[in-house]
Symmetry: C3
Subunit: 353 residues, 3 copies
């Protein structure tokens, strides 16, 4: 949803749609949403938390959704809709004010280079400079952004959205409704070498990179193909920007991998796992279902299902937080203990580290 709808809507109608009460002029019309400090004529904004109330004072928004507690916050904008949860209300109004981005055309841009042996559905949009290799298959509903490269033998399900400048290495397989953001690389060779004859000899990578249905992958990620196994991302898993997934990793369904997370080779991960930002998992580790890794966690051992782990090296989050709290107090505590020990034994040498 990024393109603006043509027609502006009555504030009173929007208020009714979210069960809110109009204060001020319900006849004004809005055609888009913007934050308080950037909204102008014809734009709707919202105030959900007291800490942002100062931004309302000078806001030039046409109208604003406010929570009951904040309805009388001072501000030049007098057209207000009082609603219990302004943040949820604005999400509910989005489909009325914006439409989902649509393919600019159906067909193949004349500049695209499509191998004659590729099988491309008629109902696709291949933008400028797209390259499609021999034997690739692109299902109906695809929208392939400018400059993306679909390698030899790649298979795409239906309704796949590839943003500009993506590379799908030969043999990658994507399910239905997959979305891959700009700059991500799917199916590159894994990092595998054996040291022999004075050099790192490259291990061949003949495995696949298989992306399930409804997977979304952020910008500038790198997901390697398998070596002799496959790399597999389960259905409904969502991946943020700049994430690395190494060869032979198998990720379950409905996982969330946040930005800059990294997963080393041959990790097995269950369903519903959440990796927070900059977390990492060492090679060959097994992660159960519904595990949560807090931000910056570094996992070096298996984790049973349902647990929340954190820190370095990763342990159960609660234990880790106790250790870090103790660490914060450690320098002063060490001194106090040394002092007490000297009092108990005056001949003791000071051993304060």
């Amino acid at each position: 949803m990024t393109s603006l709808e043509g027609s502006a809507l009555r504030l009173a109608d929007l208020a009714a749609a979210v069960g809110g009460t109009v204060q001020g002029d319900g006849e004004v019309r809005v055609s888009g949403i913007a934050p308080l400090d950037r909204a102008g004529a014809g734009q709707l904004s919202f105030l959900a938390f007291p800490k942002y109330a100062p931004m309302l004072v000078d806001s030039r928004a046409e109208a604003v959704l406010v929570s009951p507690e904040l309805k009388d916050s001072p501000g030049r904008c007098s057209n207000r809709v009082i609603v219990a949860k302004p943040h949820e209300a604005i999400l509910a109004l989005l489909p009325k004010l914006y439409r989902r981005p649509a393919r600019p055309f159906v067909g193949v841009h004349p500049s695209a280079v499509v191998d004659p042996t590729a099988v491309v559905d008629a109902d696709v949009c291949l933008e400028a400079f797209v390259v499609v290799g021999p034997g690739a298959r692109i299902g109906r509903g695809a929208w392939i952004g400018a400059h993306s490269v679909i390698g030899d033998g790649v298979q795409l399900g239906s309704d796949v959205r590839i943003y500009p400048q993506v590379t799908l290495y030969p043999g990658a397989r994507l399910g239905d409704r997959v979305a891959i953001h700009s700059g991500s690389r799917i199916g590159s060779d894994g990092f595998g070498y054996v040291f022999r004859d004075g050099a790192h000899q490259k291990l061949p990578h003949v495995g696949s990179c298989i992306i399930g249905n409804d997977v979304e992958i952020g910008a500038n990620c790198a997901i390697d193909r398998g070596s002799i196994d496959d790399t597999v991302i389960g259905d409904g898993t969502k991946i943020d920007n700049l994430v690395h997934i190494a060869h032979n990793v198998r990720i379950g369904r409905l996982c969330l991998l946040t930005a800059q997370a990294g997963i080393a080779g041959s990790v097995r991960m269950g369903d519903g796992v959440v990796m927070a930002g900059q977390s990492g998992i060492s090679g060959h580790v097994t992660i159960g279902d519904k595990v949560t890794l807090t931000a910056r966690t570094a996992v070096i051992s298996d984790i049973p299902s349902g647990e929340m782990w954190g820190g370095y090296p990763a342990r159960p989050h609660r234990d880790q937080m106790r250790s870090y709290a103790a660490l914060a107090k450690l320098p002063d505590w060490m001194k106090r203990v040394e002092r007490t020990l000297r009092e108990l034994n005056p001949t003791r040498e000071d051993e304060t580290p």
Copy 2:
């Protein structure tokens, strides 16, 4: 500054320009700069620190800038300019020996695909295979590198430099004199989902990605657009390679974000903040002005202006360093404390962990 100037310059003239004294032949001419171990005929090098003096011995540089303490360091290169700070002197000489890279042509490469509704100034350079979407506006002085994609409705100020293979998602807005290095993605959808009906449902992203004046962004970064707020990078802020900035983040003026830093959603950051390499900030945190985060810091709470924080979870740097020093001594200290406690109470059981 990457292209070589045509004419070589007299060493005596260069020495005069930086207030240095020639030792050897001031009539030799140099036309470029190179490190001691790679410099050859016609090239100027420099020796600023004693630890690099061994590299002077066999250096084939035509001439070398040296600090007064190092002027007699042994080496085959006898043409020397003695100057107090050789490193600063060489920076001062750069504009004499190199010229700034200039646009290869003014105009639009015939292979570029520019939508007829885009507004492109006459004084621009759009290199090969550039794609410009409907309604985009490109100001005067722009230099857009090969293969870059300027999405629908993107706005570029004047004198913007986009290196090859950059993607500007629809609606991104860049100020004047912005530079974006190869492979960076500006305005991609943020990582926002709600779990409903057994799946992660995507939250629409209708906010903007707004880049201020004089911002430079390194290679392969990812900066998301806002969801219903905007993502904003303040004037004069500089961003290194592989940095991630999530949706709704607002960064102040003149910040420095070093390589592989990551900022989660809705973070507010003041002016003049320095994030060292691989540091990260959790979502919804507020960082004051002139805060410094040391390398690999992981912030999970607000930080007042002017402080230097470090470690995981982040605390004031000084406190953190004391804790890490104590941690290094902890295993041996634990043993000594246990021994002392046993001496004081011989019946005590050993509790050395």
Copy 3:
């Protein structure tokens, strides 16, 4: 090695090639390799570890390599080759079942834009939309993937493999047999500014980015050029995905830099160094030969040759592991020590932190 060989091979012949013993039908033919759970008719799989034995039960593989201990594991696939190390055996068989990917053609794709002053060997493959700048030199045997940009004056040795969407900034120099995966950026400006007149003024970058022979670089890496020094990657070094290498870094021969590693400016690194995933090195640090950094290590000081370091801030791995083990026990141990001290001195105030 990603493309399938045309002809299927006899299982008995494959068994003989690896010194294995056939159990079942040695006359069956296989033409490819797949993991147990995805292998089908005509495909060879393998079982090397007991923990994967359950996957054999329903495997539809045509034949399977098994270790002697596992040869009688239950499973529908009865054609087995018993061999001591199935994993090594399958690697040995790869060249019989797969051929190395070959250039799709020799020559320059008609859509490529090659500057007339570039010197391009006749024995090259430049794929669609490749851009080659003025003065660039491309040696024999090169395979340049679609959309890659070879900047002004770039020099490529022989048999270089550039995957799609790579950017080589002006002046980069690559040796022989270099491979660079999709989306990597070589020779971008480093992150160097001086604060003057209220702004971060950019330091010019006139150094080179020099990549030695037999270097492989993964996907979406960023390797900066030098400022007035050079950035140098030594022969035979291998680099994983999403790695950052800053300006003026000099890396030795035969190093392994694993995914998401980061190296700040002017680091000097010896030969044979291993950086595990997400590790980092601060600026101006010197790392000896054959140093190993464990995953997530953050180095802030020099490391002598031959050592294994880990943690944050990095110390010898063994010391660091002792400290982390002590940290895990610290909260409970603190309580026990406080209790003991109170017993020894009942008037003592509780100082449990």
